[in-house]
């Protein structure tokens, strides 16, 4: 058990003393995953709304793609994004490989199908007649869409939680497209892997604690929003 006690002490010292290295890693994680989640919501919820409420040619195929995308292995995403952004790839001129934007793109590719598919399921569960009812009371198409999203809010919260959960703990894709460069593209998961390989368990455990804490806080916040939404659904 000594290994845990020593690592715990070392990690706690690093966190309390405000060791720049640890907190800069946390900051990069928040920036990358925060941007990826935000983009996934901005793109995924409208996409899910369209998939869940509109009827058009190719809809079924797009749903299959979104559902399949939910199970995309991150390393495969990392591989494809790395190839696309590599010097010889179609977007090589952008010189994004081993940068934070590259990591955001990879995480977005992972989270987007999850957010879109879960949102589509949530809005398609709202009866069509409820939208008709809103329209009959004077709602514009935008107001009708907003009402639908509001009615589907429980499912949308689940979409946010699933999207966030899929990328905050992801390690394969960010390593492949970010390169785990200290102070630049090193995030909590890649740093934990590196410190563990080096046998430096203190900072690894400290980062693991911050990561777990972050996941816990986000889920508590989402649960609070969910329970306030449930208030009138009993």
């Amino acid at each position: 058990m000594g290994i845990f006690v020593d690592a715990f002490r070392g990690g706690l010292d690093m966190l309390v003393s405000g060791a720049t290295d640890v907190w800069s890693i946390v900051l990069v994680s928040v920036q990358v995953s925060g941007a990826a989640v935000l983009l996934a919501l901005v793109l995924g919820i409208p996409a899910g709304f369209v998939l869940g409420t509109k009827r058009f040619i190719g809809r079924r195929m797009m749903l299959v793609i979104a559902n399949t995308g939910m199970g995309l292995p991150p390393v495969v995403v990392g591989l494809v994004v790395a190839m696309l952004l590599s010097r010889r790839g179609p977007f090589g001129k952008l010189e994004l490989l081993y940068s934070q934007p590259a990591m955001v793109i990879a995480q977005l590719v992972i989270a987007l199908p999850i957010v879109a598919a879960v949102s589509a399921a949530a809005v398609s569960a709202v009866p069509r007649e409820l939208r008709l009812q809103a329209r009959s009371l004077g709602a514009s198409p935008w107001q009708e869409a907003f009402m639908t999203l509001k009615e589907a809010r429980m499912g949308l919260i689940a979409a946010i939680a699933a999207g966030f959960g899929s990328i905050i703990s992801e390690v394969g894709a960010v390593t492949m497209v970010g390169g785990n460069l200290a102070g630049k593209t090193r995030v909590m998961t890649t740093a934990i892997v590196q410190y563990t390989r080096m046998g430096d368990y203190g900072p690894a455990l400290a980062l693991a604690a911050v990561l777990m804490g972050m996941v816990l806080v986000v889920n508590i916040l989402l649960a609070r929003v969910q329970s306030s939404a449930e208030r009138f659904e009993a």
């Binding site: 809103a134 509001k150 009615e151 009138f232």
Partner: protein, 362 residues
């Protein structure tokens, strides 16, 4: 007070899977009147309501609101209407939020919204229910909230699609009575879709009967219900087809009609010698045993008939009687059926008033 509107649809057609769900030459909703759109399931009533309410685009035809052509894209016209459906589809939230929904869309101030919501809930018999969860209401309460949500907008056109169809009989009749009173007092132009004749009779001023997408009868309730337009309509209304006869004379507004040797009397403005068709509502016909002395009454018409058919119809029985070429239906209770010991072929006496006979020139 908002002025009631006139809405008129002409040549409206809507096709689903190659079949015309709606094919209406003309239908007019008159200002301040309630038109019941009656017909069996699948006859196109709800689709027509959606078209009138600018919720669904027809494949052909025009819709005019106060003489101005309007369409699905015309949101300003749609804002003058409000609808409530069979399933109430209340939004998640409180009763107050639901009733206020349309007012918020119209950017009505908070104070006015609160005032109007309170008044609308009081109007439907739910005073002070603003803070209750909308999803914990009974079917009847939810329908009242749905009606309040529509009425609070002070619409010029009110569209009600089978609003009471999913309620139990007691609740249904309580709400039918309340709806009838509210609609009559509000004097808003209303399209009321139902498959229930009794409900239509209770709430409507005018009625239109739909069959396979078409309007087969349209007019004031007494006219449409009193004299079926064709054999199908007669069957749908639980009546026998209209009877044909010739007016022998008219005196003091009473027409004496000959129907193949059977004399009948009706209150009608018809000319002597003209050919007419007429009908009698089943509930206006009284049956007596053939050998009893019928009590003195104001009923001018008396038939010595035989029972041709007996069919159960809900809690009552529909008894078809005939004398010569005159064939009419009567509605009697189960107890009366047993008391009169009726069966097919039993001779009976039938009485009905001259005012119960609806006559039209042919």
């Amino acid at each position: 007070m908002t002025t009631a509107a006139t809405i008129c649809i002409t040549g409206v057609r809507k096709v689903f899977k190659g079949k015309a769900a709606v094919d209406v030459t003309r239908l007019e909703l008159k200002p301040g009147r309630t038109l019941a759109l009656l017909g069996p399931s699948g006859s196109g009533k709800s689709t027509l309501l959606s078209i009138v309410g600018l919720l669904e685009k027809p494949d052909a035809g025009t819709i005019e609101l106060d003489g101005v052509r309007v369409s699905v894209a015309d949101r300003a016209a749609r804002m003058t209407m409000a609808a409530a459906f069979q399933r109430t589809y209340l939004f998640k939230g409180t009763v107050g939020e639901n009733v206020a929904y349309g007012l918020r869309l119209r950017r009505v101030s908070g104070a006015e919204t609160a005032e109007r919501v309170a008044a609308a809930l009081e109007r439907v018999g739910l005073p002070g229910w603003q803070d209750r969860s909308a999803l914990t209401l009974s079917g009847g309460e939810a329908q009242r909230v749905a009606l309040a949500r529509a009425l609070v907008l002070r619409p010029r056109i009110l569209l009600l699609d089978e609003p009471l169809a999913s309620l139990d009989p007691i609740m249904k009749w309580r709400l039918t009575r309340d709806f009838a009173q509210i609609l009559s007092e509000e004097r808003v132009t209303t399209l009321y879709v139902t498959h229930d004749q009794d409900e239509a009779l209770a709430v409507a001023d005018d009625v239109a009967i739909m069959r396979e997408g078409r309007i087969v009868a349209h007019g004031p309730v007494d006219e449409v219900f009193g004299l079926p337009a064709d054999d199908w309509t007669a069957g749908f209304l639980g009546m026998e087809p209209a009877i044909r006869g010739r007016v022998l004379e008219t005196r003091d507004g009473v027409a004496h009609i000959d129907c193949g040797g059977v004399d009948l009397f009706a209150i009608a403005s018809v000319t002597t010698g003209s050919e007419v068709s007429f009908g009698v509502r089943p509930e206006d016909v009284l049956l007596f045993e053939a050998d009893v002395v019928v009590p003195v009454s104001s009923a001018r018409n008396r038939l010595d008939a035989v029972v041709a058919e007996i069919d159960p119809s809900g809690a009552t029985f529909r008894v078809v009687i005939e004398q010569g070429s005159v064939r009419i239906a009567a509605r009697i209770s189960r107890a009366a059926l047993a008391d009169l010991r009726l069966s097919v072929g039993t001779p009976v006496q039938a009485l009905f008033k001259a005012t119960a006979v609806r006559v039209a020139s042919t």
